[in-house]
Amino acid sequence: MSEQLVLILPELALTGGLCLLLLVDLVFPRRRSWETGIFALGVLGVVAYLLLQRYHAGPHDAFGGLLRLDRFAAIFQLAITGAAGFALFLNLQQFRFPQDRGRIETQFLFLCATLGGFVLVGTQHLMMLYLGLEMLGLCSYALADVHKRDRAGAEAGMKYVVYGALSSGVMLYGISLLFGLGGASFAMPDVALGINQALLEGEGVRVLLPTLLLLAGFLFKLALVPFHWWAPDVYQGTTTAIAGYLAVGSKLVALGALLRCFAILFATTLHGIEGDPALLAVTTAASEFGASFGMVLAVLAAVSMLWGNLAALGQTHLRRLLAYSSIGHAGYLLAAVSLMSADGLAAAGTYALVYAVASLGAFAAVFGIAMRAGSEDLRDWTGLGWKYPLASGALVLFFASLTGLPPTAGFAGKWRLLASLWAGGQPLLALLLALLSVVSLFYYFRVIKQLYLERPAEDFRPAIERPLPWLAAFLLVVGAATLALLNLGWVDTPIAAATADLIRG
């Protein structure tokens, strides 16, 4: 038992941290606290350290296969930890909504959601998967609604909870069907066997419908068509910190979980079964299914790309704009997944991380400028590039990365996607992706245009005067990362390796 506990040290640390936060909140009922914020960040630091250990420790099954603690899990858990840190940090930097800054339950919720994310990406047991999803979801619903005394927050929370509960319900329904398919077992490997059996009997539909329903949950978290409706409204309704967390943290773990599901459920499709000629039939059946199912995903991906990028045109509210563009980027991810190949999954993982970095930066930069301008509306940002060079310059860099311009990580990531798409026999998707990045340039650079190509208004008064050294430092760090990750190997090599492990099981 104890060695099992050792295996889940990161989770334990996180749990301990958030219990302490609760206690503090009970004992000293101050609504707001710097110290707790710093403490929470510290906890995350420790967790990150432990996760590094996990990354090197190699794969372990904990609690009879309820948890699967391997490199893949470690990578994505690290990622969401980072996102949580970012969110906490921005939350502490809130000076425009003092009633919300550093509120203890906000910090608690961030940690709690992160714990849910850990479970979500760290299991290959469908019930645990659902549990993790719900944990992450419930905390996010609450987070979306942290603005008391504010209608937008309430509405955002309402929409998020209804929509989220619905899609997770649909997912659960799918899980229940898969449970049956897997011979009354939640363990993904068993389900995979059931799938192979069904495919061998030529009953693809029995596999298809549950898988689609299962997909619903992921589509919701990744804000993909047709489950994307919540994203713009919720992003707009909450604070930048939380929007950033939703756009980066929960997306990353959701993608991680999705990759894991596919890698295990469709292992046969992905790399077939070597050697044994008796199982050749299974392999062929599986790959046929994979091909047609991949086509479905490809269409879905194409629609999402188009939708996100087109709807973002002419959008003036920054967070809505980022929401739409994130729909488009999710489409890119799904395009890679739709290849139903090891390379495709790896590419998706890599791009997700690269996107996460640039996206965090973008949210932080927007956050910074918006605090000065006192508005997230583009029309109030005229010429601010000349007043706030650092934040604006950083924004240019991050937008360049999101567009996929060199010399930024985004370019390498886009290159990785294009390469796998072209190699995977989807040249049209590749072309579409390439052309859509031109479209994305248009709306990203509308912001740049507003910032730099105009002169600031004479009567401009910043909403807050005080400098934001920490934010500046953060932007510099993330910016440096965006440039450094142009050497994509640093991200891609581990992810590719981890994904390969998954598939080999």
Binding site: Y163, L209, L212, F227, D233, V296, A311, L313, G314
Partner: protein, 643 residues
């Protein structure tokens, strides 16, 4: 064979004016007298060198007619690779060599051109005195002379073309000279300059294509190599390949433009907008002679068919221009059309198979036409820029020197026996006659007929001009108080007058038509002279008719001729207007369609985005419906794919 210091000397001839031009552009305005002495002196030097070389050539005695001194022919390391100088590479035009060329035809021409240019410079020092852009004028003149001389000494068609283009630029600048005048700019000069450049440009472009064909056909553009290569080719494949004929026509087109042959003659009369010495330069020494020189040099590559065309076009131009000249009242316009007519003679001479004859006429014509133009310049100068024949007259007593020189030159061009013009024109007529005797249908007869008709007309219109200007009573105050021009202007007149008389003797390569053809030609020439001269004297001298009444006498034909047979108007209608219109269409097409499509695409994307965002209504339950719809569609699609 070339002696050691030969090529330096030959090179010096063009380089002297070039250097003068450079100095003139850089420091000219700060020099005393605007530095006019610089190019004039340089030209004198060039003339000296040219004469020196000429005497050397003459020293060869009977050789003189046939000798060739050329870097290309004799190697001697004087030719240089022009496009790529590295010896390693011998592919294509890169292997192109440029060199110097000097033979029995060049020798007198070079001397003549240098001499005439010098005289024009000298004349200009008087004529252009007080002009607001004195220095710039001389710079242009120097560059002009340089280009012509360089063209004469280069040994290949490409360099001929290049310097010929440079001449185009110079003529453009000089014709447009007055449009830049500091006091009172003349827009018409600008128009004339542009017209001249563009009209000749038509020919130039054609010529460039012709050269392209030649190059790809023979891999060389050097006179002597072509002269060898073409016969081999023809023997090789029995007859002239069509591409070579095409090349011939294109090259001829170049000459048509430059030498103002019909139908590209329209620019030359307008070029009179330039200062008169410039006209002398263009008409006598440089520009127009270039065209004839080109076809004469390119003679070996010209197929018989092409030659026939050349002969006919030339002859027609000779006649056509003569008729117009007859009806012009402007002193310089008459001379302009006479030039066109004479050029017609030269061109058709080439067509008739005698490039030597053509160049011979270029030579003599250069002398007396320069004399005529400078004389005209003197008259205009003396009469305060009065150049309308009907308001001149009676200048004989007032300007004796000019009168004498003009008389000689007029006589020469009219073909009075034992003057230079007689020999050269006689020779051309003789060849025409020869061709006619050889007897090959229209192509053979037309030239003789047209040239024969043009001959008396020449005498007629030239003496008409002369008599109207000099004899009788002055018809205006300007003419009445005209004075003889100062020395720097009269000296050239005298010299050129002498040249008009004795010029023919300086020519080496006397053309040798057959005996009886010669006789026929002589008879023809004398008869036509008598006719023309007689008519002129009768009409203008004794019956004292003035220009105005000429037209009335000649009736409708004259009106047509006065209207230049409507050629200019026709061109304006069929070339200038369409080009303008199409240009406007093209640019609106570019803005509306090409750019319109681009913007259209962008607008379409934005509109599509707006449509999509309409669905983002903010109503959660509508979202749910849309989601169900999407999920349903997805499921159906998936089912269709899987089963």
């Amino acid at each position: 064979m070339p002696t050691a210091d030969f090529f330096p000397l030959l090179l010096a001839v063009p380089l002297l004016p070039l250097g003068a031009w450079l100095l003139q552009v850089l420091v000219g305005r700060s020099l005393p007298r605007g530095g006019d002495w610089l190019p004039t002196g340089a030209m004198l030097g060039a003339f000296g060198v040219a004469v020196l070389l000429y005497l050397r050539a003459q020293g060869l005695g009977d050789e003189a007619e046939h000798f060739v001194w050329s870097t290309g022919a004799t190697g001697g390391g004087h030719g240089w690779k022009w496009f790529v100088s590295s010896e390693g590479l011998d592919a294509g035009l890169a292997a192109f060599r440029a060199g110097l060329w000097y033979d029995g035809l060049t020798a007198p021409l070079l001397a003549m051109v240098a001499g005439v240019s010098f005289l024009v410079h000298l004349f200009s020092t008087g004529y252009m005195r007080g002009n607001s852009r004195y220095t710039a004028y001389f710079a242009g003149l120097a560059l002009f002379s340089f280009a012509m001389l360089a063209m004469l000494v280069s040994d290949n068609l490409l360099f001929v073309f290049m310097f010929w283009e440079v001449m185009g630029l110079c003529s453009f600048l000089l014709i447009g000279h007055d449009s830049l005048d500091r006091q009172k700019p003349r827009p018409r000069a600008a128009a004339a300059a542009v017209k001249a450049f563009l009209t000749t440009r038509v020919g130039d472009v054609a010529l460039l294509l012709g050269l392209a064909i030649l190059w790809n056909g023979f891999g060389t553009l050097q006179f002597h190599e072509l002269a060898v290569a073409v016969p081999n080719l023809i023997e090789g494949q029995q007859g002239w390949p069509s591409w070579l004929e095409t090349a011939g026509v294109l090259i001829f087109l170049g000459a048509v433009g430059k030498s103002a042959q019909f139908p590209l003659h329209v620019w030359l009369p307008d070029a009179m907008e330039g200062p008169t010495p410039v006209s002398a330069m263009i008409h006598a020494a440089t520009m127009v002679a270039a065209g004839v020189y080109l076809v004469a040099r390119a003679f070996p590559v010209l197929a018989p068919g092409v030659l026939a065309i050349i002969a006919v076009v030339g002859a027609f131009t000779a006649f056509f221009a003569a008729t117009i000249a007859l009806t012009q009242d402007d002193l310089k316009k008459v001379l302009a059309y006479s030039t066109i007519s004479q050029l017609g003679y030269m061109i058709s001479a080439v067509g008739l198979g005698s490039p030597d004859g053509a160049l011979f006429h270029v030579f003599t014509h250069g002398l007396f036409k320069a004399g005529l133009f400078l004389g005209a310049g003197a008259v205009i100068h003396a009469c305060h820029h009065e150049q309308n024949l009907s308001r001149l007259g009676g200048l004989r007593k007032r300007m004796p020197v000019t009168y004498a020189s003009m008389l000689l030159c007029t006589a020469a061009i009219a073909g009075v026996p034992f003057l230079s013009g007689f020999y050269s024109k006689d020779a051309i007529l003789a060849f025409a006659a020869e061709g006619w005797e050889a007897g090959a249908g229209m192509a053979a007869t037309l030239p003789l007929v047209l040239l024969g008709l043009a001959a008396p007309l020449t005498a007629l219109y030239m003496f008409r001009m002369f008599l109207l200007a000099f004899s009788g009573e002055p018809r205006s105050d300007h003419a009445r108080d005209a004075k003889e021009v100062p020395l720097p202007m009269s000296l050239p007149l005298v010299l050129l007058g002498l040249g008009a008389v004795f010029g023919a003797m300086l020519w080496f390569a006397k053309p040798h038509p057959s005996e009886d053809a010669h006789h026929l030609a002589t008879i023809l020439a004398s008869v036509s002279l008598v006719l023309g001269l007689g008519a002129a004297l009768l009409y203008f001298q004794f019956r004292k008719r003035d220009a105005g009444r000429t037209a009335a006498a000649l009736g409708p034909f004259a009106r047509a001729a006065r209207g230049l047979y409507g050629v200019d108007g026709f061109y304006h209608a069929v070339t200038v207007m369409p080009v303008r219109v199409v240009a406007r269409l093209a640019s609106s097409f570019d803005r509306r369609v090409v750019d319109g499509i681009v913007h259209g695409l962008g607008g379409f994307a934005v509109q599509l985005g707006l449509r999509l965002r309409r669905l983002q209504s903010g109503h959660i339950q509508r979202y749910l419906y849309l989601t169900y719809a999407g999920l349903l569609a997805l499921t159906l699609f998936a089912l269709w794919r899987v089963s």
